[in-house]
Amino acid sequence: MEAFLSNIDRVVDGFSWTVRLTLLSALFSFVLGILLTAMRVSPVPLLRGLATAYVESIRNTPLTLVLLFCGLGLNSALGVHLSGTVALDVFWWAVIGLSAYTACFVSESLRAGINTIPLGQVEAARSLGLTFTQNLRLIVIPQALRAVIGPLGSVLIALTKNTTVASVAGLGVQEASREMKLMFDQGVAPVLPTFLGFAIGFLILTLPTGYFFGWLSKRVAVVR
């Protein structure tokens, strides 16, 4: 255990990248998820079709494939670079891949939330003269969000864990699980304590997330 603790700065550094990957991907997937949801409920059939096709195809593709497509396909084979330094280049590709994938789950949750809103409220808003986007922004999304805070917390926890795929799936991004594997390979500390230490590290990130979202969802719940 001492050997592991003496390397604690490497552990912390690994997790700091995990957190960065998680937060940035959470932000982008949230924005993209809202956009996809707006498209999926829009009155324009083309937008609905595009969004549904996107969600259904990406959601049903393994994350490893999505990230491999970003890393090997777009980054290496097609040579699309997002940064001059390799480490940042692969980092941003990982963020894009994770966001593209997670947005589908954000959208699925939001759509379930929208289904909890009585149609009558949407009609009442329409009859006041609110446009489709106003209706979405002022009536539908705020209530849908409150209804799905809990599920969104689960999506965020899944995202946190999914960042570990970014190092194995062709991108070799720096994050906690990669640091762990490096420490194994370099034999700097015994396997079991190292393993346990990283597992606890993930719990420290995910458990409070779950509790926080649970608390928040109770706090903002819309009483009907």
């Binding site: 009155p43 009585p118 009558g120 409220q121 009609e123 009442a124 808003a125 329409r126 009859s127 006041l128 003269g129 609110l130 446009t131 106003q134 002022l138 009536i139 705020p142 209530q143 409150r146 819309v222 009483v223 009907r224």
Partner: protein
Amino acid sequence: MTSTPLVVLENVNKHFGDLHVLRDINMTVNSGEVVVVIGPSGSGKSTLCRTINRLEPIDSGTITLDGQPLPAEGRGLARLRSDVGMVFQSFNLFAHKTVLQNVTLGPTKVLRTGRAEADKRGMELLDRVQIGEQADKYPAQLSGGQQQRVAIARALAMNPKVLLFDEPTSALDPEMVQEVLDVMTDLASEGMTMVVVTHEMGFARRAANRVVFMADGQIVEENTPDEFFTKPRSERAQDFLSKILTH
């Protein structure tokens, strides 16, 4: 009373799939007039209301409001909808907004009224429907009758040219029906143009200028409330009235 036509429906037809729900509807509502629409379940009363502010599109015919035809979807329609207030059977208040916010949402977002002015007007309207003290509560904290009065204030806040009511008291406990009807009767006596789907005969007799009887998607009979309730001309209306009177 001046009788300028405000809402005019001409040869309006509407289908839901194979079902012909509105059959050649011709109807005029004059400015300041209160029209009660009555008829058996499924006769198309709600659909009629909903076509007037185009929550339902029509298949053929025309509907004009103050001489202007209803535009297709888009900004023009949103603008015109704000001239037609609608009060629903199930209140449909915005559950995540306070009572006052429910009333000021339309004015601030559609009419672009300033916040302070909208709040002031909103409070006046809430006081008028006697619910001013509840302004900061959420809809779920109010009784049905209170919620429906808020819904009326919300519709009034847009300064609509006409108010549509679709069975506004049908979802209420009996003891709350009167408080809502009282508000509606006041509005009627103040000259508000109203189309009211209701089976409340007391209200129809007291407040309506005209009763429109619908059956199977058609307007079967139109008359003054007194004439209609005492001497219905059509067999359908006689049959219908005998059923609701025995209740």
